[in-house]
Symmetry: C2
């Protein structure tokens, strides 16, 4: 399907150059078309962009939810660390997560509100699942804390710091160091002494 090829090329250029910096002619050329031919598949630049955005959102959400649906052990150490690995994998395997991060951090001004809603949606869902898991672990007394929200937000913070490291330079060594550092301090911070 040509539409998907166009979306793939669009993903690439939007990720590298941002919404304003990506041009339809570049995207079209990437798949051997003239820019006007894109209009046979999409209403325009915004339409193309929003379709790619929703693909990215869908991919990220389903990956994360799928991971937690497989996880029902009482071993948070393994499961949480595995989630960090999943995020790293997601980021390095395809461009969707990098695209998603760029566009949610710094959205094109005229689509700010639309994108903000998508972000709030996915954010709430992931955090809700995560908080449920933490509550289970607290009830099973395998980690400390009285309310689940604290370790949940702290763990999201660890994910954030890994994401920043990935976006920033993606130096394999630095990433490994930071992951180990953040993880070990975090784990000491929520587990029984």
């Amino acid at each position: 399907m040509k539409s998907n090829e166009i979306k793939e090329a669009a993903l690439k250029y939007f990720t590298i150059h941002g919404y304003e910096g990506a041009s339809l002619s570049q995207i079209a050329e990437e798949v051997g078309l003239k820019k006007q031919s894109i209009y046979a598949h999409f209403k325009g630049k915004d339409d193309l962009f929003l379709q790619v955005l929703r693909d990215a959102k869908e991919a990220e959400l389903s990956s994360k939810l799928h991971y937690f649906s497989k996880v029902d052990s009482q071993n948070p150490e393994k499961d949480l660390y595995g989630f960090l690995q999943l995020v790293i994998d997601l980021f390095q395997k395809n461009e969707l997560l990098r695209f998603w991060l760029r566009m949610t951090f710094f959205p094109p001004a005229h689509l700010r509100n639309e994108i903000g809603e998508e972000v709030a949606d996915i954010e709430a869902k992931v955090q809700s699942v995560l908080e449920g898991k933490f509550q289970d672990w607290i009830d099973a007394k395998v980690i400390v804390h009285d309310i689940a929200k604290t370790p949940t937000l702290a763990f999201v913070g660890v994910v954030d710091s890994i994401l920043i490291e990935l976006v920033y330079v993606n130096d394999e060594k630095r990433l490994k160091d930071k992951l180990e550092a953040c993880w070990s301090v975090f784990w000491r911070g929520i587990s029984h002494s």
Copy 2:
């Protein structure tokens, strides 16, 4: 000085719309000029951009170094938390940090290398100062860990997660929750039982 007015307007538009999305005519209009007049003060768009970038780098670096130069107590709990507050302040008080984050996370493609060097420079300096402090605290046995690098990177991770929260939505309530969560878990992770 008109140059500074132009740089201020440029900072604003670069921050909101990114390098490619910001136009010289908008920037000029903001200060009551035509876009051609900008060329009386700067060689071109790149020159203007890079001058703003270096201002932003300078502002961030000196703020952080100045903070740590004042700090020589043996009370990491106060000093580290104070640093988080400083970062939040920096972000909310002026646009320089937001600009810096946007341009270092997702630099304009043709200036990628130049910006990368600036990032490596500031990153190394801040981390070096931070690591020295942590080493002092370790030596004084006021926090745990054998090597200073681990708590340093973990703390940088806490800063990262706060920055992400600031960039993402800047909801005052959410920010406070996340700060408290990340901080309390981090502190438990590096302090004695």
